[in-house]
Symmetry: C2
């Protein structure tokens, strides 16, 4: 029997609870579907570490701003379910909009400070939408562990903080960014790139690697590091950088002097795609 | 052995989970302490309906505005614990501020619409604080049912909506208002009243009863009902009404014409005390 998506929150929670009552640990991978190797590494992480793995597939409208790509965002539920089954996932939760945001919906989870920076500065309301849907999903899928990708760096910081602040009884695991052979971080939005844009898109990875290389050679002046990143992005004709920053790994505050806590992060528009990527200047990538 | 307050969230959650694993249902009564008969009726409700009862005692700073009575709010933890033990409560969770709002605390639960009305219009941030602490408590005390008092009418509406919107797996029970013999709704803030103010304070109940009486005699013009309530409040020399309204029981929207869904609600300052009360115009009080 193939993995069928479940649309009902109560039945989903009931299944998770039944497993837990049997003493099984449950891992949870929230996604917006259109699964790529990045997602699959999260699923593999959960399958390795937990007895049962639940994946949610839901393109959450509240995290898209006006004029963003909510309508264009790729959707292929059947294909995703087949892939998940092959990987050993046990359950797919795929609710409808009307189930998640019924008439009169009014409640949101917000965060001060962290969500105003980096992507948050350019996507007002985005992290409100993320924190709200993740809260809802954690209540529907009361798993032991939840898996997020390091590629969405700010998201992982913001969600960790929320879990701590609101006392969610779940452990957050943040897994390494998965990249194409040429370094481009996997993203469902890479599909928007034309062939020429796809070639230019490696500049994000190249810029991050160069900042890391310079730091490890002793350069700690953030202005110098950022200038070098900007230069690498600027060489590609169709790139429009949104931000290029070096920030503290927890507070997300901009730094003047880079340290081993520093993370280089950037967002670049390239044709129809808004690409993000990040890399710590020290330690494991 | 007497009931000792537990300060640690993890041990609290662990106890609730242990009971649930043994097949016991758990009721939860969140309070700010200084327990009176109103709170005790919630505890009795839980003790009657559930196998185990957890009470939290925590004066939540984020629901007090500037210039409000956070510092004056009565605190008597030992006395409260003794009363709770007599009633058959099984567990008291009484955390510290630093445990609930650690350094760098940043996450809040907010609601659109409902929280701008009635008390929310006069206490900006109050319901943000209420929704945030209740979310935290629901994650720390993952009970089957939670008990709130009808006296805090808007709070009960706002929390029900939050539970629905954020998919909290808990059933909300709203219990009737408990009153002194002369009708004054029980409240920890009644302690602030002088003898003369205490006598005047019955005007809230008298105004609500009169609105209900008039409605049941056929008067549906909200302006007439409100005028009558204002007249009764205004006769007491030291009252300063904050709002006197007749609203829909779910949307909290002001009504022009009263119906069986209408609730009369009011807030009145009297000396150092801010008193609130409410009553449905039809059905059970």
């Amino acid at each position: 029997m193939s993995l069928q998506p479940e649309r009902d929150p109560d039945r989903t929670r009931g299944q998770v609870r039944d497993w837990q009552e049997d003493g099984l640990t449950v891992g949870f991978v929230p996604t917006m579907g259109a699964l790529h190797e990045g997602h699959l590494s999260l699923v593999k992480g959960s399958v390795d570490e937990c007895d049962r793995t639940v994946v949610s597939i839901y393109v959450n409208p509240t995290q898209f701003g006006e004029g963003e790509d909510l309508d264009e965002y790729p959707r292929r539920l059947d294909e995703d379910c087949a892939v998940l089954e092959d990987l050993g996932a046990n359950f797919v939760f795929a609710p409808s909009d009307v189930m998640m945001y019924p008439d009169g919906y009014a409640t949101y989870v917000v965060q001060q400070g962290l969500t105003d920076k980096l992507c948050g500065a350019f996507r007002p309301g985005h992290f409100r939408g993320v924190l709200t849907i993740v809260s809802k999903l954690f209540n529907i899928v009361p798993a032991d562990r939840a898996y997020f990708g390091r590629k969405d760096f700010q998201q992982s910081v913001v969600i960790r903080r929320m879990v701590r602040d609101l006392n969610f009884p779940i452990r957050i695991r943040v897994m390494p960014t998965i990249r194409e052979d040429d370094g481009l971080a996997m993203s469902s939005r890479n599909e928007y790139l034309t062939e020429s844009e796809r070639e230019q898109a490696t500049c994000l990875y190249r810029a991050l690697c160069e900042a890391r290389r310079l730091y490890n050679e002793g350069e700690t002046d953030v202005e110098v590091l950022m200038d070098e990143m900007e230069r690498i992005i600027g060489r590609e004709p169709d790139t429009e950088p949104e931000y290029i920053e070096i920030v503290d790994c927890e507070s997300l505050e901009s730094l003047d002097q880079a340290s081993d806590r520093a993370v280089a992060a950037l967002a670049v528009n390239l044709g129809e795609a808004r690409l993000i990527d990040n890399m710590p200047l020290a330690g494991e990538e």
